[in-house]
């Protein structure tokens, strides 16, 4: 297998031209589709795909950045635990996300033990190598939740527990598609998540909302081919689930991983930062796993954080509207000024999967045809993009 096969510029150009023809045939402007995955936004930005897409095709990034949708009270729980003296391990970007009174990085600067791990398995190792309590602050969607489930089913050491802020993607698509300002005509679903859940999980959604869903991989050709498939369904007024990532995704998904996921977690309603309350959108540990549930094992004193003054800039942050697909980073008064990757105000500027961070790094919609006249930054796709 050679990844270059999925970056072939000649095929990319053909797919782009086919997209242009199909979107023109629809005859509306804009045709709005949404993806719900930070990795899709990264690929679209990194390979400069937005510059090659039809002007009338609006590809919106939805609530697909796991760091960004982790709600402030959840971050506060992690920060409070760390400040109480419990060792907290979590995925990289999480430690810089501001809660209502500081981030885990701030807690670490104040003397708390906070570890960044690549995998939950590393957090288990940290616990094995010490006698102190280690809490894994588990964030992310079904793809990372299954990993958390796997370690909990594999006899973790007695000093290991989990603070679950895991989220489940399919329910948020229901909410976003009903938001009056968003008007999504089709969804690109994340190939990694669908590898676990199977493409079949979107069938009830499509039947209810008559909005097509295409499962997409992460190479440029994967995304272009999936977008073409999606706009063809929009043109033909067909609402179906299509799987354009068959090398990884089946209709049934990974049954083994699903069994482990639902053995450990149950879905409950809860807020996604900046979006809404999402019924069944949060994954919490089942009662059988109370002994490894940090919320049950510790008294988490979030109130102790309240004497710290929250940032007034946070109130101007429009991350929520950006994740709901009704605003772009350039609509935010803070973007690129008060809010930059080194000093993020909102979660979208923290994560490498956040819309603001990606737009700040690569430019939003690089315009390769016209010279800059409005003072905005223009970016050129990186050489490895191969989209010449």
């Amino acid at each position: 297998m050679n990844p270059l096969e999925f970056r072939d510029p000649a095929r990319a150009r053909e797919l782009s031209e086919a997209l242009e023809r199909t979107v023109s045939a629809i005859g509306r402007n804009p045709v709005s589709v949404m993806h719900v995955c930070g990795s899709h936004e990264q690929a679209i930005a990194r390979f400069g795909l937005r510059a090659t897409l039809p002007r009338a095709l609006n590809v919106i990034m939805g609530p697909g950045c796991p760091v960004c949708i982790t709600d402030m009270p959840e971050i506060d729980e992690g920060v409070a635990l760390a400040l109480q003296g419990v060792r907290v391990a979590t995925y990289g970007d999480m430690i810089r996300v501001p809660g209502s009174a500081g981030s885990l990085a701030d807690a670490r600067a104040a003397g708390a033990r906070v570890d960044v791990v690549y995998s939950v398995a590393q957090a288990v190792e940290l616990a094995r190598q010490s006698s102190e309590e280690v809490v894994f602050f588990g964030t992310g969607f079904e793809t990372t939740a299954v990993a958390t489930a796997a370690v909990l089913l594999d006899n973790p050491p007695a000093n290991f527990s989990v603070l679950s802020a895991h989220k489940f993607i399919p329910p948020v698509m229901e909410i976003v598609s009903e938001m009056p300002d968003t008007r999504v005509e089709g969804f690109l679903a994340a190939g990694h998540a669908a590898t676990i859940t199977g493409s079949g999980i979107f069938e009830p959604f499509v039947a209810r909302h008559h909005i097509p869903v295409v499962v997409a991989g992460f190479e440029p050709l994967d995304i272009l081919a999936a977008l073409l498939c999606l706009v063809e369904m929009i043109r033909d007024k067909r609402a179906e689930v299509a799987n354009m990532f068959p090398r990884c995704v089946t209709r049934e998904g990974n049954r083994n991983a699903q069994e482990q996921l639902w053995k450990v977690f149950r879905p409950i309603g809860g807020r996604w930062r900046g979006i809404a309350h999402i019924p069944n959108g949060n994954l919490r540990l089942r009662d059988e796993f109370a002994h490894v549930d940090a919320r049950k094992r510790f008294t988490i004193d979030v109130n102790a954080l309240w004497h710290r003054a929250p940032s007034t800039l946070v109130r101007q942050c429009i991350c929520g509207n950006i994740m709901a697909g009704i605003a772009s980073p350039s609509d935010c008064p803070l973007f690129g000024r008060e809010c930059v990757p080194d000093q993020p105000v909102g979660a979208c500027m923290v994560s490498s999967e956040g819309t603001c961070r990606i737009w700040h790094q690569y430019g939003g919609v690089p315009d390769l045809r016209a010279p800059a006249t409005d003072g905005c930054l223009r970016c050129v796709p990186t050489p490895e993009g191969g989209m010449a």
Binding site: Y118, A225, N256
Partner: protein, 81 residues
């Protein structure tokens, strides 16, 4: 159970307990946060490519041969292993 996975030159130990089916030395897997979540059958890679070609044929009326520039084909062939 774990396996050593070669990520284009970087070797990492990856857990296999979430994988959908048994893996053997030489298989491709989809990795996420240190866990293999799918054994990728080599024939499925081919299926994906054929899917693109079919889409293009339907949309352009041309065969896949017209779409691949010779130099790119050479590059891909050189990298195929």
């Amino acid at each position: 159970m774990t396996a050593v996975v070669d990520f284009w030159g970087v070797k990492r130990r990856v857990r296999l307990d979430l994988c959908d089916e048994p893996v053997q030395v030489g298989d491709y897997v989809l990795n996420h946060v240190g866990f293999a979540i799918r054994r990728i059958p080599s024939e499925d890679v081919q299926t994906t490519l054929e899917l693109y070609e079919q889409l293009l044929r339907e949309n352009t009326g041309q065969g896949p041969e017209d779409l691949m520039a010779a130099d790119v084909r050479g590059e891909i062939e050189a990298g195929r292993s």
